[in-house]
Symmetry: C2
Subunit: 120 residues, 2 copies
Amino acid sequence: MGKKSSHVSLRPRLRVIRGESIALGPGKVDLLSLVGKTGSIREAADRMGMSYMRAWTLIKTMNACFKKPLVEAVRGGSRHGGAMLTEHGREALQLYHQMEKGSLAATKLQWKKLKRLLED
Amino acid sequence: MGKKSSHVSLRPRLRVIRGESIALGPGKVDLLSLVGKTGSIREAADRMGMSYMRAWTLIKTMNACFKKPLVEAVRGGSRHGGAMLTEHGREALQLYHQMEKGSLAATKLQWKKLKRLLED
């Protein structure tokens, strides 16, 4: 891993399409992941530098694309306005991350060859 | 392949990044492919619904990212303003397509599971 590998990179951006909507893509998955970590849509939105409204819209789109919601509001308790991933949400997130890893692994050989063609 | 599989789909969009530039991505690769097929940047741009200037800018970016140009102008001959892929260009295009195929193949199992979570 020399200078070159930090300069060129391969990014697989997987998009799961349902009808006219993007059910899951890199941005939505990052958001899901942060909601899971922080337990808050507002906190997740802040960390991604997006508005709460934007985050909420993305989550509404995701929820509508799946048979069961991926994110649900946590009512009551000390954490007002909190949210959490449902089991469905954790499963979707895990499958997406596995696909990302699989995609990177599967492209390794060609990527090595392609890197040689790229300018340093 | 029933109704469902036409309604939901997985699109791996691979991006090859060099420094601040996208050396290759889905759009650039489609353009490359069309230049190879049509032998003309103008014709390729038309088919993609983009301006000649836009196509030319994308090609300049690609050419600058690689050690050797991927596309070169064809001077003289009957096809004024024609262009062709160089050997370097054909190789890059082939490697990218192989990576796309590999990526799809590698995600098949998880995609099957994820599809089951998606709304019909």
